[in-house]
Each structure stands twice: as C-alpha cells, then as structure tokens.
Symmetry: D2
Subunit: 400 residues, 4 copies
Amino acid sequence: MANNKTGIWIIGGFGGVAATAAVGLAALAKHAMPTTGLVSELEPFRHLPFDAWGDFVVGGHEIRQSSLIDSAMQMVTESRAIPLELVENNRAQLDAWSSNFRPGILTHSGRAIESIATTGFPIVAKSARDAIDILSRDLVAFAAENQLKRIVVVNLASTEPPASAELSQMNWQQLSQCLDDPKFCLPPSTVYAIAAMESGHAYVNFTPSVGSNLDALRELAIVKKVCHVGRDGKTGETFLKSVLAPAFASRNLEIMSWVGHNIFGNRDGVVLDDPINKATKVKSKDSLLSQMLGYQPQTHTSIEYIQSLGDWKTAWDHIHFRGFLGTPMTMQFTWQGCDSILAAPLLLDLVRFASLAADKQVTGELSFLASFFKSPQGTTENSFGKQFQTLIDWANAFSE
Amino acid sequence: MANNKTGIWIIGGFGGVAATAAVGLAALAKHAMPTTGLVSELEPFRHLPFDAWGDFVVGGHEIRQSSLIDSAMQMVTESRAIPLELVENNRAQLDAWSSNFRPGILTHSGRAIESIATTGFPIVAKSARDAIDILSRDLVAFAAENQLKRIVVVNLASTEPPASAELSQMNWQQLSQCLDDPKFCLPPSTVYAIAAMESGHAYVNFTPSVGSNLDALRELAIVKKVCHVGRDGKTGETFLKSVLAPAFASRNLEIMSWVGHNIFGNRDGVVLDDPINKATKVKSKDSLLSQMLGYQPQTHTSIEYIQSLGDWKTAWDHIHFRGFLGTPMTMQFTWQGCDSILAAPLLLDLVRFASLAADKQVTGELSFLASFFKSPQGTTENSFGKQFQTLIDWANAFSE
Amino acid sequence: MANNKTGIWIIGGFGGVAATAAVGLAALAKHAMPTTGLVSELEPFRHLPFDAWGDFVVGGHEIRQSSLIDSAMQMVTESRAIPLELVENNRAQLDAWSSNFRPGILTHSGRAIESIATTGFPIVAKSARDAIDILSRDLVAFAAENQLKRIVVVNLASTEPPASAELSQMNWQQLSQCLDDPKFCLPPSTVYAIAAMESGHAYVNFTPSVGSNLDALRELAIVKKVCHVGRDGKTGETFLKSVLAPAFASRNLEIMSWVGHNIFGNRDGVVLDDPINKATKVKSKDSLLSQMLGYQPQTHTSIEYIQSLGDWKTAWDHIHFRGFLGTPMTMQFTWQGCDSILAAPLLLDLVRFASLAADKQVTGELSFLASFFKSPQGTTENSFGKQFQTLIDWANAFSE
Amino acid sequence: MANNKTGIWIIGGFGGVAATAAVGLAALAKHAMPTTGLVSELEPFRHLPFDAWGDFVVGGHEIRQSSLIDSAMQMVTESRAIPLELVENNRAQLDAWSSNFRPGILTHSGRAIESIATTGFPIVAKSARDAIDILSRDLVAFAAENQLKRIVVVNLASTEPPASAELSQMNWQQLSQCLDDPKFCLPPSTVYAIAAMESGHAYVNFTPSVGSNLDALRELAIVKKVCHVGRDGKTGETFLKSVLAPAFASRNLEIMSWVGHNIFGNRDGVVLDDPINKATKVKSKDSLLSQMLGYQPQTHTSIEYIQSLGDWKTAWDHIHFRGFLGTPMTMQFTWQGCDSILAAPLLLDLVRFASLAADKQVTGELSFLASFFKSPQGTTENSFGKQFQTLIDWANAFSE
C-alpha cells in the first residue's frame, strides 16, 4: 500500500491553536463541519490538488504533560469558543493523535516559557546537535509508524525572547560548527527547524520566534531541498492593519499616529507578560506600517495579559489621520476575535500549501504565502491585498 | 492667447463640499497647501499631464442665495474643520468665483430640497427642454467669459427622491420627445446632465441622484462625444466597507450581519431626514456587500440627522462574522470624518481625471474611476482594492 | 403543614428570560450557583427576611407550545450564554415547573405577537371578563396544588402595541363596565393584571406594555389590597443612560445629542421588528433624559432585529456634549450584554421584594423599586443613583 | 477702599489648563460666556455667596518663559479647542495677568520636568527654606499690588516623580528641621504648599504630585489656620470609573477586569512619557476600583504620549464583567475629551469653594470637595455619586 498520508507535526502541539486545529481537522475528515475560515477552500484555489482533510495525521513535541482533549476542553469551558458536543464527538481521534506526541526541548526558551513547562518532562540534550538528533528520530519514527509520504513541521510554541544579532550574520557552515558546543545559545525554534530540514521535511513557523528566518537556514533548506515559510500568523489586529493602511495610502490620507492595544488571556498571554518575550511580538506587529505607507507615523502597540478574556483577543486601534486642508480625523476599531479559532484554519491552510509545494519540489522560502504572516519571509510586501493577489497568481500559474 | 483654463461648474456649488474644494483649490494654486487627500497627487499618477491647480476656474448653479465664503465660514465656525486664516487668505479668489454662479432649477427636486431653496431665487422653466436651454446658455457664457478650453460639470446638489422606474427603460429618442412636456417628471440631476452633454462638456455625478445613470444618457454621451461618470462619492463608511468586505472574503470568514449607523448634521442631513430622499441614499450604501461577498448577509444601514455634529459624519459599524468551527466573532469600527474635507479632494481629482480623459477624446462612462464611487457606473466591481488597481492600470496604459 | 412556598407565575413563561430565571432558581435552590447579578443578595439587603431560593414554585401562562427546557437550550446553543451542564443538571426541576404552565390569551396582542403563537394553543375567551375568570381559575389551581402562601404574577410577554389613550382616562368603575363587551379592546397585559389583582396576588410588569399602569388598576389594587409595580426592566443601555446622564449634569456638561442604536436577535426582537410594537419600546427608552438633565437634548434611539446576535443585545451610544468655552466633546460606549442573563436575576429580585412587601401588607404601587425599571410607576425619578438610594432607604426603614 | 479681590496663583501657570481657565475667566467676567462646565453654577449651589467672576486676579509661578496668550494660542491652533476670536477678544486681560507671573523652582522635579524648563529661567534656591521664602515674598507682593483679600494657590505643574516613603512619616517638626539642609529632597509641590500655608493662603493641588498630602502639612495647615485640598483633578476616564463602578456594584455584576488605555499629546504627556513620572499618575488612576467594588479586579491602566492628539485625551476602557449564571459580558467606552477644557472650569470651581471656605474660617483638608479629585484627601470615598451628594449636603448646611 502506498504512503499517501501527510503528517502534521506541531511544536507546542497541546496549545489552544493546535487543539482547535485538531478538533476541526477531525470533523472535516468526517465531512461534519463547514469549511468557514479555510482559505484553501476558496474559489480561486478549488482546482489545486491539495491533500484531502482525511489524509492528515497529527503529532508533535510538547514541554507540558497534557493532551489535545484537555486543551480543547479549555476552549469549551474557559473561552466558550467551541461547543462541547464537537469535542465529545471527536474524542477518539484526538486521543489517538495525542499518543503520537513526544517531549520537546526547553533549552534557551527563556524563563517565561520554562515556567509553564511540566517539571522533568522536556528532554534534556547535551548540545543543540544532540537535541536535533533526538528530535529528528521522533520525526522518523512518526513517519514510519503512520506510513507518511511527508511531514510538515509547524511551530506553534510560545514566543521566545529575541535571538542574538550575531546569529543572523552566520552562514550555515559557521552555525553548524557551533552546534556541538553545549554553551551555544540557539533558540529552540531554530533547533526544531534544523531537525525538520535535516530530516527532509517542510517547516512552517506560525510564531514570531526566529525559526528558519536566518541566512544559515535559508542555505540549509536549499541544500536539503526542503521548503519553509514564516513568521507569525496574521490573524487579527495586524491583519486589519495590512488591509486598512494601504487603503488610507490610496486616498492620500496621512496617518499621523496609529495606536493599537491588545488584551487577551490565554497561555501565550502568560508568556508575553514577560517583557523579554513581549519585545519579539510587538516588533512583529508594529513594523509593517512604514513599508505600506512610505513614511513612519507615530505608533504604539501594546499586548497585555488579562486573564478573564481567555482566548478572546480584543484589540482597540486608534488611527489619527490628516485629510485635505490638514484637518485631523479619526478611525477606531475594536476586534473581538478568538485567537485559536482564527489561527487554526490558517495553520491547516499552510500545511496544505506547503505539502503541495513539496509535491511540486518547490524548495526554499515560500514567499507566495506572505498573506498568512505578520513578518513574511522572502518578501517585504505587507499589503494584504497585494499579498493575496500573489497567492492567487501562484494558484493560477499552478494550473497552467 | 490660447484657451488653456478648465472650468469646474458645480451644481449645488454653495454647499460645504464645494466651498471646501474652492478654498483648497485657491490655496493649492498658490502652492500654500500640502496635497494631502488628493489621489491624483499620488506616485502612480505623477506622470499624467493633469491640469495644474492654477488652471481651474470655478462657477456653478445654486438654488440658495449664498456664497462660497458664507459656506466656508460655516466650516470654520460650526464644524471647526477649516482654520479661519485659510478662508481669510483666499477671500478675494472665493469672491471672484462666487460671482460666476447662476440660479439653478428646482422642479421635481422633492419637498425636502424645495424647503432649503431661497424663495424666488431658482429659475422657473416651462419644461425640461426650456431648463436645459437656460442652463446650457450659462455654461456657454462661463466658457466664453473665462476663455476655457473645457468645462467639467459636477453634481453636488442634495440627494433627490428616487427616479421613476420607467425613466430607466427609455432610450434617448423616447426621452428627448418628452422634454417639451411641462408635466414630464425629469429629475434635476438628469436635466443638468443633458445640459452638460449637449454643450459638449464632461459630467461627474458625486451624489446618489440618478444624473447620467440612464441608458438614454449613455446614448447621448456617445452621440455628443463627451465623457461622464458617477455615482455617489465614496468617502467614509462605504469606502471602509469596500476595503474590509473583500478582506473578510479572502479569509473565508462568513459575515452574518453588517450593521452601519451614520449620524451627521450638515445640510445634506436635513434633506436626508426626509424618508423619500433617504431611500436613495441608503440603497446606495447598502447594496455593494453581496457583490463583494458572493452571498447576502443581513444588513441594516441608517442615516440620521443629528444637528450638533455639523459636517462631522460619525459612523458605527458592527460586523458579526463566523469563523472556523462556526464560532461567532465581532469587529466594530467608528469613523469620525468631516464629510466635506473627505469629499472635496476627490471632487478635484475627478475633475482632473475627467479633464484628462476629455483631452484624450475618451467618451462615454469613465468606469476606470470606480474607486471614487459608492455605485460606480460602467462596472459591477465594488472591491476598493480592485477598483484602485484598475485606476493604476489605466494610468500605466496612459503612459505607454 | 403550613403553606410557606411562594409561587412565581410568569406571563410569557417559556421565553428566554423566564427560562434563564428558572435555570438559575433551580441552581440557587441547590446552593450550586453564586449569587452574581442578584441585587437582593447585596450587603444593604442582607437583613431582610426574603423568601429563600428554595421556597419558590414556578408556573405561568404561554401562547406557544414549548417548555422551559427548550427555551433554556436555545440559550445554550444559539446564544452560547448558558453552559450545557447547567441545564442538564436541572432538567427534572425545569420539567416539573413546565407542567404547571397553562395556555394564555392572545386577543388584542397585535399581529406580531399573534404570528409567534402556536396555532390553536391560546385560550379563546368571549370577553375580557371571561378571560379574567379563566386566568384567575388557573392561579387558584396553581396555589392550591402547590400549597402556596402567595403568588407573584410577572409579565414577561413580548411588547404589545401602545394602548389607547382613552383607556388611561377611565376609572375602575368605567373600565369594569366594559369588560363584558366582546369588542372592548383591553391589552392582554392589563387582562392578566386584573386577574392577578382580583385573585389577591402581587403583579410585576417587566415589559413596556401598559399592564397595571392605569388609574383604574391603581384603584383596583387599593381595593383588593394588593401591591404592583412596573414597567420595563432596566437592564442595559437605559440602565447606563440613567447612570451617566446625572453624572454629566453634575459636571454642568451640556448634552447636545444622545444617539443610541440597539441591535439584537431574540424572540422579542422579532416582535419589535413590527413598527407598532417598537413604538412602545422606543418611547420607554427615550423619554428619561429630559427629566434627569432638566432640558431636552436631541435624541435618537433605534432597536433593530439582527438575527445572528441571538440574545446578545449590543448597544452603541454616541453622546455629544459641550464643555467649558462651548467646546464639543464625545463619549461613546458599546454594551454587549446577554438580555436574558441581565434580566433574569432582576426578575427574581422583584419577586422577592414584592413578596416581602406583600408579607408586610404594603398595597399599591411599589415605587421604591424604581431602580429596576425604565419607566418606573409611582415616581418621576430616573437617576439610577437616587433610585437605588431609595431602595436602600426602604431596606433601612424596614429593619427599624 | 476695601480689598475684595481674590488672587488665583497658579503653579505651572502658563500650561494649557491655566491658559484655558484664564481665557474663560476673562470672558466670564465680561458676561460673554455661558457657564457650561462650571459646577459652582449649578442649581444646588446658587445660594452660596461665591466670589463673582469679575473678582479674581490671576498670577503664578512658571519655569518656562512663555505667556498665557502663547499657551492659549496652542489651544487654538494645535488642539483646535478654543475659537481664535475668544483669545483675541481677551488679549489685554491675558497680557495683564501674564505680567503677574514670577519664575518658579525646579529642584527635585526630576529629569522630565527639567527638560521642559527654560534654561536659566527658574529661581535657584540654596535650600527648601530659601525657596519657601522667595516664593512667599512673591505671594506677598502679588497680594499687595492687587489689593487682594486672599490668595488661593493652585498647583497645575506637571506630575513629579513619586515622593519618598520617609517623607510621609515625618511630622511638621521633623520636616521643618530639614528645610535648611541643601540636600534635603523635598518635592517642589510641597515646597509651594508650605509657602502658601506659611503666607496664610489656601492651597489646592490639581495634580497627582504629593503637595500637601503629608501628615506634616496637615499639621501646618491647622497651625496656620488655612485650608487645603487635593489631589489630581478628576476630569475624564477616572471620572467615568467613579460613576460606572458603583453602578456595576449596585447590580451585583462582578467586574473581572477593567482595562483603561489613555492617549494624548500635550505637555503633560511629554512629562508622563518618562516612566518615573508616569508611575505617580497611573497609581492615582488605578487604585480607586477596589474601594468602590469591595474586591480587586484585574486592572491595567496605560497613559501614552501621542503627539498628534494635542490636548485631546482619548481613553478606551474595556470592562469585562460576569453576570447571572457566570456569563461574561463586556462594556467598552471611548472618551474624547479636551483635557484643558475639562479641567479649567473645575479649577475655577475649586478656587471659588476654597475661597468661600476661607471666608468661613474653615481650616484643614476640605474633604467635601472629594468629587473633584482622583485621590481625594481627607476621605476614602471614591463613588462620584456619594462624593457629589457630600458637596450638596455641605452647600445645604451652609445656607442654614
């Protein structure tokens, strides 16, 4: 029997986004769920030979002893975002997938992520090289046990502290020579990316952590003939920024200041409450305006952990702009979106597109997927409209 | 000496939008004003041989005895939207332009518009044909006195009641035969459009009134070799709808309901407070969603006259949408825009584009200007992004 | 064994508010629910000898064949406002209470309410008198079967069309003489109120319908030595108006305009979508400002039925006010409240206060309960702070 | 001729609030301005024998070389909050008052305030005692030159860094012994307060700086038989908190979290942009909820300097609360208030009330003025309704 299944291997796989994706995937496989929220199901992409929803197997690495069911139930009870029956009806599949999970790594995650790990649970590696080897063996085992044609490794782990500047100046040879040094400070997201690439698998970074966004890893991807893409799923406030800013620019309205305040209460919020981790995130949310506008307005972006909100990320944006004759005017919006509900379908879309790209032997950064990311790799274009047109153009070219 | 000036002839020319445009035009001509808010000044249009700001002369038809200065001063004192000095510094030019104005027509405007006219001021015509002839003579005189190479006639008059259905089924021959009948009910906006076209001038309809949006007038424009375009300047809430709705669609988020409440207190508001006139406007604001989404969500749009707001149109929109797993989420926005400040530069842009099109002997509906209108003539495309791309494409083709 | 139970007899008892109150009452009786939202549980009222939560029995009149469970399940699935387990855990009690329900009357309810009734289900009476007699027998039977010390009749039925002006000019003798006339147009809310009073029971009107707000019924209440109170539970936007308007007045800030737009999608919304019924409601929401401010600002209040919102009533209020030196400023708020969740505890509070008043032989209008109502009977005071102080004063006097 | 004028001596007197108050006072003295925004003009206070608006003379201390006119013109041009004519019409009076100003002190103001001072302009004192003597002499001279019956000293200077904890444990004897020590770190607001009290004048602290809020100064006030009051004028977001929180409490709705984001762009904002100074302010805005609610919800309050907003302070508050059956609900508000326009009339009210209290030989903290302050001295009551009732009670007792 041919291997025709695709593995989705999720780093941080017992979090809210992963659990929501898993619940949805289980329901989609049974044709028991509308395709709302899934970009790959839109008209312009109907002709693409994507993996069917029933063709996926889920597994992953985690640093917390938990399960897809536990995390899904938090979405039911704490966030009131998923109906109880939906989880109940897919319990068996979620349990089966949970059994594919393996302990992840914690080294150089920073104190905030360390504080949420289950004590004694994460693997302890002697060096980055040692960690890569352990993680790679998990991927090999996952593929073998489930007769997979391929794996797409997806990073959903909590945001790491910013990576060191010197890391971004290394080429692969330089970086690879440090891997055996126990003191070499390589962010976990990059360790996982190397493990994925060396095992010949696609890598998708849905978080603001550095992941594969290094010249060294761009090199490695080419050498290993794998594709990769990132960073930071564009789900809510930043999505709207990338929609609205080009519109203001098209009307020659001058944005004087753009203030965005985000509040939410999920596990990511606990980690972002640490200023070191928050710095990575705010940077990712705040830098795109000047590219789209052609000048830098005053901006302020905050993210605060407010426990009562659970997974409901609420953003208030205040856009102060100047029109004809210099007259100041204001647009404000509030966005009340459930973070995991918004992110989960994009994750599934990215897996489908990356798997399709791999089928076609596309290697390197998948810059045509820019519309999914706050800080898209392989392009400087941030306008959502233009990014989405690029995706459609890619799909149209595919069919030709 | 060659005639190289372009006339801007404004129907409803002593209103807030016209006065704001005139103040700005006077300042632009002296290079005493940044070009904020002017689309024609954006990078993609820099190479187009537009009329210079100093090349315009303003005149118009009005039914109220007033002046550009009076109306501009309302923007200063009641709406606090224009600095006093700016009006003071351009008083001489505004007065000169005010002297170009002539009395307009009132027949079939409806009771709300009649109530704001100055008694005894509007011209009284025996029939539509008679009115057309009088109005045309005003245009001819304006062109002669100011040595104009052309006139762009712009409709800024308050919104009329909806036109009769039978009117839209007439061809030009049928319609023209009715013009001598004193009882023939032809909306003023169409009377003005005929006068403009028969005089060989371009016609721009910035209001939701029917204007040239009739098969009969499309015919007439071709015959007379003039260009025309409309309807209803897209300045605030509808502009945002045409920006946001395509973005929701691109993410496969299902909009369940879209509620928009608009409040404002200028003269247009007084007229729209009459339910007959309001019907024309709400229709123009509400119908574009199904085109952009591919299905019809529940919608509700209201426009209410709230005197204290003056020219500040405040909109609250509540967008209720469903995401992955059927989870309902919400986006809300408030838009606090000064109506005349937003509309005036678009009006100047339209005049520039229409004048350029006339230079190039383009005739008929200028559908490449769709991004400026709520109900664009000559196209069914409502997505702002796509409309704006069409404008850029037109500009790029122009240069070739 | 002494009769020490109190009956809660709900007109419109299978609606969302009644079902939510019943679910909560069942849980409170088992001490399985915090007392959040219940005014009678606040510190200033702790010393009052209220009926215990386990001392109530629920029944009611309905025009729809349904049940408390069915309506509670709508709150679970459509509105996502009550957790499934809470309904499951109280199923037996809700079923027992549902069996106490009897068919209600429909005459003179208006077309909107008629359209939601189950065909053939409501009782058909020959006259108002006949209806009163039938309804009274239901109350007698309910009291006897459940050994009740008293009944509090609560009107939760959908809003009726406005009552005729002549009705409010009748005294009881005049009104009572019309009751046998089959053509006499007496609103159902008043028919129920008469049945309650003639049976010696307290009457609480939680809706804007006229109910007992007639001189004739004020007379009847005194004669029958019963207490009554109304109208229109103050749950959301109007509650905030009665909190904010006095604060603006205390700062001598002049409110120029107050616009309130309400959207929601429950059964009340279907009925209010009929302009006749809506008129009753908007009047109740809109009239209190001038009493609190001492002048009448421009106001506009709308209520629109937006199906997707279910029981979540969302209000946007725009308050435009003038401060020192005449400077205009703005406050806006949005209120996203679940209607039944807000109303249900107030209903239980009103029953407790009315039952306590009845224990103390208080008769006539219970004006000390004004803080619970949009249009409080027996007082013109609308400031929430002053109304609430009156309630505290009553409680303090009680203890003396 | 009797001295019947009252001096208003403003610390930070060339700021926006002071200039706005001066413009308004000049207009009120000429009966050329409605009394909107002035609490002392409300009905409950009509019978009080306040100083007439024409009975005031303005002077003050400043660390910037500027004038009332310059600051008022910023309100005209940058903030568009005061009409140009209003300033023009009162230019002579404003200039006369500006000539009463004297250089203030800068020692221990912190780096942020130092950075906005005019170099070489502030007075340099050898010690706090030396500063107090110099400042006192300015007050004596002001009173003599203008034949004043009294002075009310008002602190409007930018917010200082928090005062040291040990200061609040000193009595007057201990504190006074340190005054000659050149190294003794006494905040300027307290130095001014001592100068005012020792000169026999009333002291009002409109800022969050410590001012007279020390046991030592409470002692001094009693000894010197002067009255004083503070701290931090309650103008916008906190005013609304103190109105809304008690209303939520009265309905037994549990506030889970209250997030408040404030943005504004005036000089105060520049100073608050320094984290040291901001700490003083946020504390003042954030601490009142637990007193009003009886428990501590999660709170987050931010203040950010956004230059384009000028004097327009915009606040967004997100209130997440739990109702019956534990259901979470949300209220959000935005407040767009002009800071100086809101503060200036309260300042004038406070001067009037303090002057009246001084007339009646009231000494010590004027706790009946709590409704004007975010952190009222002499009381722990923060509910605006109760604070305002205390003011009315005081006024009623006055008349008896």
